[in-house]
């Protein structure tokens, strides 16, 4: 059960190659990975394939259903704007929000957690106390506050959503770092004269990357979902821009008369979220040394 220590490092090709192989033999994970790449590609290229612009109003085709007979393949909304282009644009923005917010929460969470776990003692106690207090606050409140203080800035929205996601990440990394702290190779690094910063970034951080990747993959869909919730409240992306969340919110209001307005972005969002969740689960299984 206990893997040899060299199998845990970032330079251990065996673990990573094995994990990669296991991942690719998992059919659900491969499908999820393919779906994610396909959606990313579609979000980048797609809008250029269709002649419509995301904010152009087609007065002759207001709220028409999906059809290949006109230029609006997936129909139009109440203002006659093309849903194919708008959904792909929304996918692009939702994906960007998910990835940027996850990166922010990764960066903050890893550093915070690694420092707390490695330092231990009083510093650790204090840092964990801060996390406890912050997680006692309803985080939606922070985001609302940030949007009213700094205005509706898209980049700020990314960062603030990410800024609320780091608490769990920090807890995970801290737990791992505490275990690593007692290991021989850290002792060797200390004996070799490495400073705390070097030990944290060169020896601790690379060794916690496994659980972090898994959690990050599961954070992306959470962030996308959170953005769509903000957009539902009217605090997210502003017109005429669109995210999957704003499109779904608009679609939900027109569900009885124009169901495709809800279905098109809803299906894309569901595929995206399900794919990331499936991928995260598969990564966890693939990286779990115990099971293999």
């Amino acid at each position: 059960m206990s893997a040899p220590p060299e199998d845990l490092g970032p330079l251990a090709p065996g673990l990573w190659r094995g994990a990669g192989r296991r991942l690719l033999t998992d059919r659900a994970a491969t499908a999820a990975l393919a779906a994610i790449f396909a959606l990313i590609a579609a979000a980048i290229i797609g809008p250029h394939v269709n002649p419509n612009r995301f904010d152009a109003i087609d007065w002759g085709n207001i709220a028409v259903g999906p059809s290949l007979r006109h230029a609006h393949w997936l129909g139009t909304d109440r203002l006659g704007r093309d849903l194919f282009v708008r959904t792909l644009l929304g996918t692009r923005i939702s994906l960007a929000i998910g990835l940027v917010a996850t990166s922010v929460s990764l960066a903050v969470g890893i550093v915070y957690g690694a420092v707390a776990g490695f330092a231990g003692g009083r510093v650790d106690h204090l840092m964990m106390r801060v996390i406890e207090i912050l997680s006692g606050l309803p985080l939606i409140f922070f985001v609302i506050l940030l949007t009213v203080v700094f205005g509706r800035n898209l980049l700020l929205l990314f960062v603030s959503i990410g800024a609320i996601g780091w608490l769990t990440m920090a807890r995970i990394v801290r737990g791992q770092a505490m275990v690593l702290r007692g290991r021989e190779f850290i002792e060797a690094a200390v004996a070799g004269g490495a400073g705390p910063a070097r030990i944290i970034f060169r020896h601790i951080v690379p060794n916690v990357i496994g659980p972090v990747i898994v959690y990050a993959t599961l954070t992306v869909p959470q962030m996308i979902l959170f953005e769509s919730f903000l957009s539902f409240l009217g605090l997210g992306v502003q017109e005429p821009q669109a995210s999957l969340g704003t499109l779904i919110a608009e679609g939900a209001a027109e569900m009885e008369s124009a169901p495709w307005m809800l279905l098109v972005p809803g299906v894309v969002l569901a595929i995206l979220l399900i794919s990331f969740n499936v991928l995260g689960d598969a990564l966890r299984d693939a990286l779990d040394v115990k099971e293999h």
């Binding site: 006692g136 606050l137 309803p138 939606i140 409140f141 922070f142 919110a249 979220l273």
Partner: protein, 310 residues
């Protein structure tokens, strides 16, 4: 006795945490530009000055803070700035029972059904039943409530006429069905996944193999021996989930037209209704801290090896 002292200590330790949360919230919300009396038409300066004076907003910040904390010590959450003639205590006392009832039923369903589905999936590991339940669980996590609730309303309310789409009559169970289903689905999905994962791990442990080897029936092994340790991650997950669900869902309550407290936090923050936001934060944090305590007690009960230490 040891346990009693531990929990008493934890409860006392929660007071400074709560105080820190109140303090941070108090000053954070004051950072936001604007005030509670900003409206589309600006008020005449002297009217605004009178309003500010009446609510004590003209005093220095530290005095307002001390005044608020002093009120809290007497259980007074202060008046709402936006809902005129209502105190925050009244608003929360009216809405919390609705939200809490809804949340409690939803969490109960989610826990029972989630554990059942997760255990079932683990016992049929890698079968079609396992894959199907996990696919359902992923869908439960991935479908936002503002899609699910309208969709359910359309199906069961508008098309089938089985249930009311929205509305609230005290005592009517039919009004609660769709909101409760919507609220319970995401936690149900999480609990099913957690239970499946931990159950798979427990089922591989030597003592379970021993139990199989000595010929105990499978039902007994699962119920008597495997379930208890497998529930530990569920207990940790439930603490924040209960706090979240019991304090109401803005989306569900708005769409279903329920008079809960779900909307107060967001509305309060947008309207600069300072006292209402603080009241909501206190309710949420207090439930969260208390549930954390309950979860730790539950974990100590589920796994007797866990030692509670302050």
């Amino acid at each position: 006795m040891h346990n009693f002292r531990y929990f008493f200590g934890r409860l006392c330790g929660a007071i400074p945490t709560l105080l820190a949360i109140v303090t941070i919230t108090f000053f954070l919300i004051r950072l936001a530009p604007g005030g509670p009396f900003d409206q589309e038409q600006t008020l005449p300066a002297d009217v605004l000055a009178n309003l500010n004076a009446a609510y004590g907003l003209n005093e220095p910040m530290w005095r307002q803070y001390l005044h608020y904390i002093g009120g809290l010590a007497h259980g007074d959450f202060g008046p709402s700035f936006r809902y005129k003639d209502f105190t925050v205590t009244e608003l929360i006392a009216q809405g919390l029972p609705v939200s809490a009832t809804l949340g409690a039923i939803a969490i109960l369903i989610a826990t029972v059904a989630g554990v059942a589905v997760g255990t079932f999936a683990a016992l049929h590991h890698k079968s079609i039943a396992d894959h199907a339940s996990m696919a359902l669980a992923v869908a439960g996590i991935a479908i936002p409530s503002f899609v699910l609730l309208p969709a359910l309303g359309l199906l069961f309310g508008v098309t089938l006429h089985w249930l009311p789409v929205a509305g609230w009559t005290p005592g009517s169970a039919a009004d609660l069905v769709l909101p409760v289903v919507t609220l319970s689905l995401p936690p149900l999905a999480y609990i099913a996944r957690l239970t499946r994962g931990s159950m798979l791990e427990v089922l591989q442990s030597p003592y379970i193999r021993t139990a199989f080897a000595k010929g105990l029936p499978r039902g007994t092994i699962v119920m008597r021996h495997a379930l208890r340790p497998a529930l530990i991650p569920v207990a940790s997950y439930l603490a924040p989930a209960v706090a979240m669900v019991m304090t109401g869902s803005l989306v569900v309550e708005t769409i279903a037209g329920l008079p809960g407290i779900g909307r107060y936090l967001v509305q309060g923050a947008l309207n600069r209704d300072y006292t209402l936001v603080l009241g909501m934060v206190i309710v949420y944090s207090a439930i969260l801290i208390f549930m954390g305590l309950v979860a730790d007690a539950a974990i100590a009960w589920l796994d007797p090896r866990v030692r509670l230490e302050a």
